[in-house]
Symmetry: C2
Subunit: 243 residues, 2 copies
């Protein structure tokens, strides 16, 4: 892909890149797209110089030793602060998931003197559905679409890819009742299927630059649906012991 | 692979399977092996009928509504109980990582009337190094080796593959200082590299049965080392806000 700019038609860019590569998506493929290029195309840029931090943002910035203007932007997308300590601000995003800095990004976003940061897409599931529709229009076959980001984790170091937008795929694989090797039904096995695809695609995309912001995955059977949502993967608060 | 039995030479089985498939591992491949077959070959089986639960195990079993004999086996491998509530027992394993039930498994382990459970390998890094040596002896090229398990996660539903044993690969990719698209050095980006490989391999292995307990990954550049340890990925307690 070329460097994606605000207002670009990301679907058209992806179609052109696939055609240039001689690749025709199939209905059982999965198109995995990095959140960053979706956000850029949707112009989720915010120039910190235009941001006036609220009193609350200033207080949280004092606790976390972060730029109060950045904290203000983080709070725009925050449903609940989960942890705020020096250099760490972990929040529940208004979309439901929990991550550092509400997914606000300032690497690979713009030249540093512009002080730009990048928010997540407003509705990543809707963004995924639009890209799926773009594929269907161009190729007569609509693969599932995942929009992925990298999240840190409790207990383990290192970010891993996770799905924040889903179209066309059941993101959680429910194996309850599936017989094991000895015929005994599995009792409580949900597999983070879409997140594992996100992690696999993230390996191929790399992390340092924007060289490869989309991956087309072929050959992995999955359960299709027209009513997927990334929030289906989120653990309900009453079943979450770690908030 | 055939069904792995206690005492089997897992390295020899893997060598035979690779040869049967006409595949010669290369030094820059990664061999990913499911923990379950390693544990079976190393005879980590425990028959619950032989287990006498301690008073502590009985108390924890009462809280978690689990079989006191199973809790006893879990406690053998537990450094610290992290959460114990009805139907959930999350512990720090003596190997350092945090997961449900200390990784003790009772699906796909043995016919149910035998009441067998399966503990993790005693030292998964050492198991990975042995398999790497077996590859080197058979093929004159030693790929990196990961031993993987599936762990649940706070905040998100669904298990994902993670590396619990590592040989030959730096499991955490440190991108600090790498320039971004605009030449600005990245500040705090560690990538859970081995865990993302584990997730990718887990997709291919599936979860319900033991059909495909090993995956050979080719074409992904990684940093080699002779002193890897899965514990390198663990977040130090003082940098972990969620215990």
């Amino acid at each position: 892909l070329p460097l994606v700019q605000p207002g670009d038609d990301l679907g058209a860019l992806l179609v052109a890149a696939l055609r240039a590569g001689g690749v025709t998506p199939r209905a059982d493929d999965v198109l995995v797209v990095a959140q960053k290029v979706v956000s850029k195309a949707e112009n989720q840029f915010v120039a910190l110089r235009d941001v006036v931090p609220s009193g609350r943002a200033q207080a949280v910035a004092e606790t976390t030793l972060k730029d109060p203007r950045l904290v203000e932007v983080i709070l725009w997308d925050t449903a609940q602060i989960i942890r705020a300590v020096p250099h760490v601000l972990i929040v529940q995003h208004r979309l439901g998931f929990i991550s550092a800095n509400a997914g606000i990004d300032h690497s690979n976003v713009a030249p540093p003197e512009e002080e730009q940061v990048l928010r997540l897409p407003t509705d990543p599931d809707a963004s995924a559905r639009r890209l799926q529709a773009d594929m269907a229009a161009a190729f007569a076959a609509a693969p599932a679409v995942l929009i992925i980001d990298s999240h840190g984790r409790p207990w383990r170091q290192g970010t891993v890819g996770v799905a924040i937008g889903v179209a066309g795929m059941v993101p959680l694989q429910d194996l309850r009742g599936t017989p094991d090797l000895f015929g005994v039904p599995l009792q409580a096995t949900d597999v983070g299927f879409a997140d594992q695809i996100a992690a696999a695609a993230s390996l191929l995309m790399g992390q340092a630059a924007e060289g490869c912001p989309a991956v087309l995955l072929r050959g992995l059977p999955y359960e299709r649906t027209d009513s997927a949502a990334a929030a289906d993967v989120l653990r309900p608060p009453e079943r979450d012991l770690f908030r």
